[in-house]
């Protein structure tokens, strides 16, 4: 595994927007661009590594303090201008290592920075903006909660280089006192533990698993196909509610997340009981 995460994210940001520089005032680790998609325009965002970044623990593709507030700023600035018009789609290209693990970050309240980014994405969704997440590489833990997990629709590449998880493999093995091999084996039997994106798809949280050839080097034909999938997801999101209820409605969710569905139904019936 490369020391840096986000290289693939940058490649896809460039392929989809034709741009690869940060907006004025932003850190080099956050790329934002407005570009056409389908019949309209969308705002694309991506976190990329910056070996010269100000914060040492956020140089390898992690979401740190600066990244979180830059994302929050760039997402929020589309909400007000679109208040009385068609709500621009927001597309999070996700290839994030994790949140930044540093003392500076904790001291300056990275929990609030991360919340501010998630707040921006969630508030834009509630305001009617289709939020589409495209996982092209890693989507790990607090990094994903901050950048991508508030989306109406989540698409991911069907590829061994894609990993969506609560904790990276080495740390999870250490903490659960298992070897990486036994952790991988366990994931085959217990879907939520798996590091394989095809098992993640069984949880019913994905809108679409996209098969792409050579995802490290987006070719024109592949890029065109990804664009069509994104445009379709935007249209699908516009037709649906602004909440995340769709994550429990897919056939996969009805199978794997039965306990969630049952818990919600029982709680609702008891909530409404007259006493």
């Amino acid at each position: 595994m490369s020391e840096y995460t986000g290289i693939r994210g940058k490649a896809w940001f460039r392929a989809l927007t034709g741009q690869d520089s940060p907006m004025a005032g932003d850190p080099r680790s956050v790329l934002t661009a407005d570009a056409p998609i389908g019949d309209g325009r969308a705002r694309f965002l991506c976190v990329v590594p910056d070996p010269q970044g100000r914060f040492p623990c956020a140089r390898h593709g992690e979401v740190g303090l600066e990244e979180a507030y830059a994302l929050a700023t760039r997402v929020r600035e589309v909400i007000e201008p679109d208040r009385n018009s068609v709500k621009r789609a927001i597309i999070a290209i996700v290839d994030v290592k994790s949140q930044a693990y540093g003392r500076r970050e904790e001291t300056a309240a990275i929990f609030l920075a991360a919340a501010a980014a998630a707040d921006a994405y969630g508030s834009a969704r509630l305001a009617g903006h289709p939020i589409i997440t495209l996982v092209v590489g890693h989507a790990i833990s607090g990094g994903f909660l901050t950048h991508g997990y508030q989306a109406n629709r989540i698409l991911a590449f069907d590829d061994d280089g894609v990993m969506i998880h609560a904790m990276h493999k080495e740390a999870a093995a250490r903490i659960t006192r298992r070897s990486v091999e036994s952790l991988e084996k366990l994931g085959k039997a217990i879907a939520p533990l798996s590091y394989d994106v095809r098992d993640f798809a069984k949880l019913g949280l994905l809108h679409e698993l996209l098969h792409v050839e050579d995802p490290d080097h987006p070719a024109d034909e592949t890029t065109a196909r990804v664009r069509r999938a994104l445009a379709a997801a935007i249209e699908d999101a516009r037709r649906g509610p602004v909440d995340l209820s769709n994550r429990l409605q897919s056939p996969e969710a009805r199978e794997t997340r039965q306990a969630s569905i049952r818990t919600r139904a029982l709680l609702e019936s008891q909530w409404r009981e007259k006493v």
Partner: protein, 291 residues
């Protein structure tokens, strides 16, 4: 107040931290109004723990109660730090999300229902990994949706603290209440030491941990709205006051320009001194009540 009466108050006070989740939840309601939903007798348990040889708990470590606080509709969700470190699994996560969603639905129908989350948690339950993380994303979405209608209050009281993804849930809340014993942060000290080395964070340095994550520091930096003693009476009174205040005019997590500017002005070439930061962040961050 005289010293004698202070002593008396100290002797008579009831520790909030020592209470179990169920007792903590019930203590916050107007007397006789609390009703538990999906209690232990419903036996809605984690389906994933037994597969890994772990004994599940009949309430999955999450207590939901509905009733009145200060005469207003409210729901309290208490995480039990003594079960799996208060971690969020599929069921406990679904209970918390559903409680927030139902409170929001009542709010939409003109019956604002405040939510109080008692957070004693390390975040995602590792045995349920991706479903725990998914649950936290949904909890965060539910908080954002509810807080337009009624305040969402996070209380971090006990020694487990509030870490991991649930620190983002706290960050999205209308108000945060802490004790001096509590800690709040995204990454716990052990995790930072493990990931970035002991020179980045020495997790055996208790003084450093509380200087950064402790309730007193978070309150002094304007990141928590109330600092309370470990006293059930005082916690209850504070929550009643915050519910009466209602929805803040602007939530802390929406004050992006304000906090971004603060991060930009930091000297990141060295570790930050918690005391210096406390002095420079102290002013100008009172969360104003609405209206």
């Amino acid at each position: 107040m005289s010293a004698v009466r202070d002593d008396l108050a100290f002797v008579n006070r009831q520790s909030f931290i020592e209470l179990h989740a169920r007792e903590r939840a019930i203590a916050l309601f107007d007397s006789g109004t609390a009703r538990e939903l999906l209690g232990p007798f419903d036996r809605v348990e984690s389906p994933w723990l037994p597969l890994q040889g772990v004994t599940p708990q009949a309430d999955d470590g999450c207590v939901v109660m509905k009733g009145k606080i200060s005469g207003r509709a409210a729901v309290v969700v208490a995480l039990e730090g003594a079960f799996q470190g208060g971690s969020l699994g599929e069921v406990s996560g679904a209970k918390l999300t559903a409680a927030l969603d139902l409170a929001r639905a009542d709010g939409e129908k003109g019956k604002p229902t405040a939510a109080v989350m008692l957070l004693e948690t390390g975040g995602v339950r590792l045995q349920e990994a991706n479903l725990g993380l998914a649950a936290i994303a949904e909890i965060m979405a539910a908080i954002l949706s509810l807080r337009r209608y009624a305040p969402v209050i996070s209380v971090v009281a006990g020694t487990v603290g509030c870490f991991g993804g649930m620190s983002l849930a706290a960050g999205l809340s209308s108000y945060i209440v802490m004790t001096r014993e509590a800690r709040l942060g995204l990454n716990g000290p052990e995790v930072i030491e493990q990931e970035s080395g002991i020179e980045e964070f020495d997790s055996s340095d208790r003084r450093l941990i509380w200087a950064i994550n402790g309730g007193e520091q978070r309150y002094a930096m304007g990141l928590a709205d109330a600092l309370v003693d470990d006293d059930t009476g005082q916690v209850g009174k504070t929550i009643r006051q915050l519910i009466e205040k209602g929805v803040p005019r602007e939530h802390r997590s929406a004050r992006v320009a304000f906090y971004r500017e603060r991060i930009q002005s930091l000297d990141a070439t060295r570790q930050l001194d918690p005391n210096e930061l406390r002095a420079s962040w102290r002013t100008g961050d009172a969360t104003e009540p609405g209206k």
